[in-house]
């Protein structure tokens, strides 16, 4: 059974040999640890994720990073360079395609061929495994910003090896956050083990004096996820990563839409993650935060989309997030053109510039919301630890199996799926149906009273249709869904 224990070096190296055989590009000489270490040590400071994030945190600045990825290397470089120079991106991604995310490298190869034939990207991302270390290195050398692999891959072991060996100094993902929202029937125990490996790799490089950044995926399904649930998953993944030797973390949260709830979430995310890391003895881990602009359905109108992107940027600035992942005016339609992607960046940076000098004052309402999140997270983490008899890895597996932890709208069959969220009268995300979620009656009553206030105001039942209306609302430029 899985354990939250640092993988021994020899076990790690033995696994490594096997992992690198999964696809021909795994055999590259550049993947020898010596070669990879020298590549990573040669990465200039301004392309080191951890360093650039540290500078931003010290300066109280929020950096912007887009999502972006296309099938072919030349077009991918053209895209990233445009987002850097025209969009003003501070950090660059490579969004990995969905075939690669499911280890279907053969279908990714088909996608590459089809893209050459059709002269447009037939893939929704950059097939980093197929392009191999050499291809990924070309991308790093062509840009002037730190590069991160962004994806949704339950088993990202080979992908992680390849991108780090190419000098990409950050990797997004986690055993829970890249399984429950991103897979159907992959055992949680397997994905957690795969991600212990990816973290152990970062731990290995750390031991060679190379600081790489790891970023658990905050927003989960991006659809009405209560902050306490995404925070609990983020903290679990932070602790699991720290155990494997990761020293630099970015924990994330997806915009909910209620400004006070979102700022409260951003502030508590940092304090709680730092608290729990210290509680478990990981005293030398740097914690930074990332705010994802609205991750649910977007309005089709491009001005409405830019307004939503700007509102998100106001919240990130108020919550002093270290980094913000941007969206684009094409979000509801499809993968954006480089121009649309740059529009999202420019709107975001405009707001961050205008808000950067302005402090966000505390208030009673903010402190109340923070206290609620803290209480909820403490209870969920306690239950997870408890059911794992002190082992967080075991705890996570069992908590999901029993619905003590439950993520709304998740495709994975490992998720109980009983939880039902909806917005209260002000638009804050609350829980209608707790399923077996490990929260006490006080908390349940609090959510219930807030939700019934809304139900009364709208003279409607609290039911799944209320949730559906809330899922559709923001795409219709409303926050609290109205009865159809």
């Amino acid at each position: 059974m899985i354990e939250n224990k640092k993988i021994d070096l020899d076990v790690f190296l033995a696994k490594r040999a096997k992992i690198l055989t999964a696809w021909p590009t795994g055999a590259s000489e550049a993947l020898s640890l010596e070669h990879a270490v020298s590549t990573l040590k040669a990465v200039p400071l301004h392309k080191q994720f951890a360093h650039v994030l540290d500078e931003a945190k010290a300066a109280g600045k929020t950096l912007i990073q887009p999502r972006a990825g296309v099938a072919l290397i030349d077009q991918h470089i053209e895209l990233l360079t445009y987002l850097q120079d025209v969009g003003g991106a501070d950090l660059l991604p490579s969004t990995i395609d969905a075939y690669t995310r499911h280890n279907r490298y053969d279908q990714a190869e088909d996608g590459i061929k089809a893209s050459k034939k059709e002269k447009r990207s037939m893939l929704n991302g950059f097939p980093a495994v197929n392009h191999g270390v050499e291809g990924c290195k070309l991308v790093l050398d062509a840009v002037n910003r730190p590069l991160q692999a962004r994806h949704g891959t339950p088993d990202a072991r080979l992908l992680s090896e390849i991108i780090h060996a190419a000098g990409w100094t950050s990797n997004e993902g986690g055993g829970i956050s890249y399984n429950i929202p991103y897979a159907k029937n992959i055992a949680l125990e397997d994905s957690i083990r795969y991600w212990q490996y990816a973290d152990r790799l970062v731990g290995y490089y750390e031991e060679q004096g190379i600081r790489l950044n790891r970023e658990p995926f905050g927003p989960l399904t991006g659809t009405l996820v209560p902050p306490c649930i995404s925070h609990t998953v983020a903290i679990i993944e932070a602790l699991l990563a720290a155990e494997q030797g990761v020293k630099h973390l970015t924990v994330g949260y997806g915009m909910g839409g209620h400004v006070i709830q979102d700022v409260a979430a951003l502030q508590t995310l940092e304090t709680l993650t730092t608290y729990y890391l210290k509680l478990f003895g990981y005293n030398d881990v740097t914690v930074t935060t990332v705010f994802h602009q609205w991750m649910g359905g977007f309005p089709a109108d491009e001005s409405a989309a830019l307004a939503l992107i700007s509102m998100a940027s106001m919240v990130a600035a108020m919550g002093k997030a270290t980094k913000m992942i941007t969206k684009t005016p094409h979000e509801s339609a499809g993968v954006p053109t480089k121009e649309a992607n740059a529009q999202g960046l420019i709107a975001s940076k405009t707001i961050l510039n205008l808000m950067n000098t302005q402090p966000f004052p505390s208030s009673e309402a903010l402190e109340k919301e923070k206290a609620l999140i803290k209480k909820e997270v403490d209870q969920l983490l306690y239950a997870t630890l408890h059911i794992g008899q002190g082992d967080l890895a075991k705890g996570a597996v069992r908590a999901f199996a029993n619905g003590l932890l439950d993520i709304p709208f998740a495709p994975s069959e490992m998720n109980l799926g009983k939880i039902l969220p909806a917005r209260d009268a002000e638009g804050a995300i609350r829980i209608v149906n707790f399923g077996s979620l490990a929260l006490d009656q006080d908390i349940k009553d609090h959510h219930q009273s807030l939700l019934s206030k809304r139900a009364n105001q709208q003279q409607r039942e609290i039911n799944f249709q209320m949730t559906i209306d809330d899922v559709y609302a923001i795409a219709q430029t409303k926050l609290v869904g109205e009865r159809r």
Partner: protein, 135 residues
């Protein structure tokens, strides 16, 4: 009760729309067979055969719709499902493309009705009921 098969095709994990389509079609009086995300063409076909479905509603959100739906109609025909209505919707191609061209592409692939991004299931209900003779 008319039976319809719904699911999300290919290496696509988008589940939110699928869960809402499931609920809305049930409320509208359909017997819904939901094969969920990450479904293959074969999953759709088997489900349709087993449940004697009159329609297959394919969702593709993640962009690889064209590759994942290739030859789907032929396979349906080979499996004796020629009479089964084929619908496809979501964000069925990569990026913002002119819908007229996209619709033509998928109609040529054998789909009876093709829906653009943003066309939620509620707005398609009328047409589906009409096609299945429920109005």
């Amino acid at each position: 009760m008319k039976t319809v098969v719904i699911g999300v095709i290919g290496a696509d994990v988008h589940a939110v729309g699928n869960k809402i389509i499931h609920h809305v079609l049930e409320e509208a009086g359909f017997h819904v067979v939901n094969i969920g995300v990450l479904s293959t063409q074969e999953d759709f076909i088997h489900a349709a055969i087993e449940t004697n479905a009159e329609a297959i509603l394919v969702s593709s959100l993640y962009g690889h719709g064209e590759m994942d739906c290739l030859y789907f109609k032929q396979k349906c025909v080979e499996a004796g499902l020629n009479h089964v209505k084929l619908y496809v919707g979501g964000n069925i191609v990569v990026g913002k493309q002119d819908f007229k061209a996209v619709e033509a592409r998928f109609k040529k692939m054998g789909f009876d009705r093709v829906y653009p991004p943003g066309a939620n299931i509620e707005s398609a209900l009328e047409e589906i009921k009409q096609d299945l003779g429920m109005l």
